[in-house]
């Protein structure tokens, strides 16, 4: 009886083709979308277009990675778009003015220091989100909706709604390399793509191979059960919102560097694209389920779709409609997969007998 316990019965565990197709659906969708535009849109496969497109995708992918952790933990972070805007303004301010205490002198920073400060701002806003949610028991939707408005307003206030132009930095202060974040490249790949690779690898590693990652899934799957198992739920939530804030800060840096200017309205509705990418990648909005790899594929599907449609000359209005349809279809298929998966597992268990 007990010897059978660890050996899966070969019949029940045989790969189920239908399930395999469903599991890989986002990836299949990406290939189909790619193939379609390769045929339908001229120049779609050119190297120049690939670089431009991947830069677009990267912005959304950063936010979606942070969002995935938050959603897996059972929450939501609506404030990321505003954090992008605010962090962009902070970066612009630091490049242009440094920190001025009104004493007749100011502190200027080099590029690395600017990046660190901006990231800290993003992380701090994430921490505020987490504290509102864990200590003051505000629902995640409401807490981050509040910070969404606060950050956007603060970004507007920082410049009275104007753009900080010409963020070229100055060699004197060591900030002339600020432009390189968005414009530079290494071994033929843009710096922002390298950053994405690093962040995505880090996030995937955390989610699969560290206790922290396991706890994030556990908190989203059953918060009470996780707490009773000794998981420090509040710390896990603190981490996911701080990480989401960090990802948003990176996007703020990249956007203001790419444009060599920061505008306080940058990042509006970015949070919705990030949620869409996560959901498209198979993340469950009720928590406990999702993968970083899936989210990145999801971000690519959305990015390829919108850039491809632009190249085909489809109107922006139709693009929005198509994006919505794709998201709804993805969730419908996801439900079918869950049902099938549960049935396969139950059958395997039933095959064991009582």
């Amino acid at each position: 009886m007990s010897h059978a316990a660890t050996h899966p019965p070969t019949g029940a565990a045989a790969p189920n083709l239908g399930l395999l197709v469903l599991k890989a659906r986002t990836f299949i969708a990406l290939i189909l979308v790619f193939a379609f535009f390769a045929v339908a849109a001229p120049n779609f496969l050119s190297a120049a277009n690939m670089v431009i497109m991947s830069k677009h995708v990267a912005l959304n992918a950063f936010l979606a990675i942070g969002m995935t952790f938050v959603i897996i933990s059972g929450g939501i972070d609506l404030s990321v778009g505003s954090i992008v805007g605010l962090c962009g303004m902070v970066a612009g301010w630091l490049v242009l003015y440094g920190v001025d205490f009104g004493l007749g002198w100011s502190i200027q920073f080099n590029t690395l220091e600017i990046c660190l400060i901006v990231c800290l701002v993003g992380i701090a806003i994430g921490a505020v989100n987490a504290l509102l949610i864990t200590r003051l028991n505000v629902a995640p939707f409401i807490a981050t909706l509040g910070t969404l408005y606060i950050c956007r307003g603060a970004a507007m206030l920082s410049s009275d709604g104007r753009t900080f132009p010409n963020l070229n930095g100055s060699a004197e202060y060591g900030s002339e390399s600020f432009r390189q974040i968005g414009a530079g490249s290494l071994l033929g790949l843009p710096i922002s793509i390298w950053m994405l690779i690093v962040v995505a690898a880090l996030a995937a590693y955390i989610s699969r191979r560290t206790p922290l990652g396991r706890y994030i899934y556990a908190v989203g799957g059953n918060e009470r059960g996780a707490a009773l198992s000794g998981v420090k739920v509040n710390r896990i939530k603190l981490f996911v919102y701080m990480f989401s804030g960090f990802c948003a800060a990176l996007v703020g840096l990249i956007v203001s560097s790419q444009l060599v200017a920061s505008h306080p309205a940058t990042g509006e509705t970015f949070e919705l694209n990030a949620i869409a990418a996560a959901v498209l990648g198979g993340t469950s909005m009720s928590g406990g389920r999702g993968r970083i790899g899936g989210t990145i594929i999801g971000a690519f599907v959305i990015g390829v779709l919108s850039d491809g449609l632009v190249m085909m000359g489809v109107s922006a209005f139709w693009q929005t409609v198509i994006k919505g349809l794709v998201i709804v279809a993805a969730v419908v298929v996801d439900q079918a997969q869950q049902k099938l998966q549960a049935r396969v597992a139950l059958q395997a268990q039933a095959a064991l007998g009582k």
Binding site: P211, R214, Y215, A218, N222, G225, G230, A345, L346
Partner: protein, 511 residues
């Protein structure tokens, strides 16, 4: 006195995944009388009533009314046949008013659209007069005491002119005066020919109010007769049976030193009072202490205080003489306490996670170097415990929800054991699992005790507590009301100590 049979169950069987709640029961419900139903938690009383009320459907068997077979597909169907039920857990909408709650789902309307609040209010007022309670129809239910809420629930059933009224532990939250009123209403309903089913754990109350009694044990009816001549020993005998079931045989081993001590543990209740009322106890290494009591006696709450779930609990605890100051659950697990919660689904497991992830959730540190989890070591650890606890699984990567109740429980036990605890707290370890898995769980408990663990387990099953415990502690209304050694414990004494006394000494209740 002649009481016609209003409803019959013939050969009623109800199967849940992993357990048979009812085994081919025959039940007669008599009109114009109080039909008392008694049995331990999990004996099948509530299941049988849910079948009658249309909440659950029989797996096999028939329900007859006036010699015609009826099928209740839902509570609506049952209600149309004149069956009303007051559940033990109240089903009220706290933000709505008393009148709205009473007429929920059957609002009195003008033309099917506009709710006739005035008529509803008047009807509510009449019902409250009948129940002798001065509750205003427009009061939101949330503002009422639990006892008053129960009255509202009863009024809801009365408003439907139920011919059959099922009351599941209606007096558990009522004061003595309110119980008297309820009994007067029941007598009045009886005169009108209403058939009443009355479920309660208060034996003396049953004997006083009942006309017929049915005793359930493990899903079968072990006794059914008219109430005349029934006494408490007869009920107890039928509740727990003549011969004890054959649980794993005792392996004698000496107890070690005191491993856990709790002193003056108190936990305030939400509605005022104490859910756990100055509980002190100690546990030795290798000892199995059974905590017996009825639902709501504060047993689970006490275990939750020990594991650190309630930050506002007071009192001192010590592990092996060392005071336990860390109030977080993680800290207490690290000090060697592990809890197997009562509610496996909501507290014990992450349903959508795999068996492997569930088992190691409390002990990931064992498989982690710095911050890197060694998945191979994790799999080996899980495989070892799967084998040790004989968990039947197809693959450790399957979601834990695909397992039967007994195997799920073993996963929860495995999770607790992987933290290498010194003290194991088990809350109803045999709830909702079949008899075979039960025996295995008990055998495991014995083995663990022999290895020197201190085990504190909570149960509502008298047989279980008598067979398994080295020492029995009885709780009632948040307090310890009795403590028995294996040698001195008798079933009657344990039941007497567990009865809710409302301040009266336990002996009076049985006399």
């Amino acid at each position: 006195m002649d009481h016609p049979v209003g409803l019959q169950i013939r050969g009623g069987t109800k199967v849940y995944p992993g357990t048979r709640a009812l085994k081919s029961v025959d039940f007669d419900l008599r009109m114009g009388a109080v039909n008392v139903l008694v049995g331990e938690n999990g004996a099948g009383k509530s299941t049988m009533m849910k079948v009658i009320a249309g909440v659950e459907q029989l797996t096999e068997g028939r329900i007859l009314m006036q010699d015609r077979e009826v099928h209740f597909r839902g509570t609506d169907d049952a209600r149309r046949h004149g069956i009303g039920i007051v559940f033990q857990e109240l089903n009220l909408f706290p933000n709505m008013t008393v009148a709205e709650n009473i007429f929920i789902g059957r609002e009195i309307t003008r033309g099917g659209v506009d709710i006739d609040m005035e008529t509803q209010r008047a009807a509510t007022r009449r019902l409250m007069e009948r129940l002798e309670h001065d509750i205003h129809p427009d009061t939101p239910v949330a503002e009422l005491r639990v006892g008053q809420q129960q009255i509202v629930e009863i009024a809801k059933s009365l408003a439907q002119d139920a011919r059959i009224l099922i009351l599941d532990e209606p007096t558990s939250a009522l004061s003595a005066a309110e119980v008297e009123i309820l009994f007067r209403v029941i007598a009045e309903l009886k005169r009108d020919g209403v058939g009443i089913v009355y479920i309660s754990h208060r034996l003396e109350e049953l004997i006083r109010i009942g006309d017929y009694i049915t005793v359930l044990r493990d899903g079968t009816i072990t006794g059914a007769r008219a109430m005349a001549g029934v006494d408490v020993p007869w009920i107890v005998r039928n509740m727990i049976g003549e011969a004890s079931k054959d649980f794993a045989k005792e392996v004698e081993h000496p107890f070690g030193a005191e491993i856990f001590r709790a002193e003056d543990v108190c936990l305030p209740r939400a509605g005022g009072g104490l859910a756990v009322d100055h509980v002190s106890l100690s546990l030795r290494a290798g000892e199995i202490v059974g905590v017996y009591g009825l639902m709501g006696a504060g047993r689970s709450e006490f275990l939750e205080c020990v594991i650190g779930r309630h930050p506002h609990a007071t009192g001192q605890m010590a592990i092996a003489g060392e005071p336990l100051r860390d109030r977080s659950i993680a800290g207490r697990i690290a000090r060697g306490i592990a809890l197997i919660p009562e509610d496996r689904k909501n507290d014990g497991l992450i349903q959508m996670a795999s068996i492997r992830e569930n088992m190691t959730l409390s002990s990931l540190g064992r498989f982690t170097r710095l911050f890197h989890m060694v998945l191979g070591a994790e799999r080996r650890g899980v495989a070892e415990f799967v084998k040790r606890l004989t968990v039947k699984i197809a693959s450790m990567e399957n979601p834990v929800s695909s397992l039967s109740g007994g195997n799920q429980q073993k996963v929860v036990i495995g999770k607790a054991l992987m933290t290498t605890p010194k003290v194991l707290l088990m809350d109803e370890p045999s709830r909702g699992i079949d008899i075979g898995a039960k025996a295995e769980v008990f055998r495991t408990m014995r083995q663990l005790a022999a290895q020197g663990l201190g085990i504190l387990f909570v149960t509502s099953d008298l047989e279980e507590v008598m067979a398994l415990s080295d020492r029995i502690i009885v709780m009632s209304e948040g307090r310890i009301t009795g403590e028995f050694d294996r040698g001195t414990a008798t079933e009657t004494a344990v039941i007497a100590a567990a009865a809710p006394g409302q301040g009266r000494p336990a002996q009076e209740l049985v006399a």
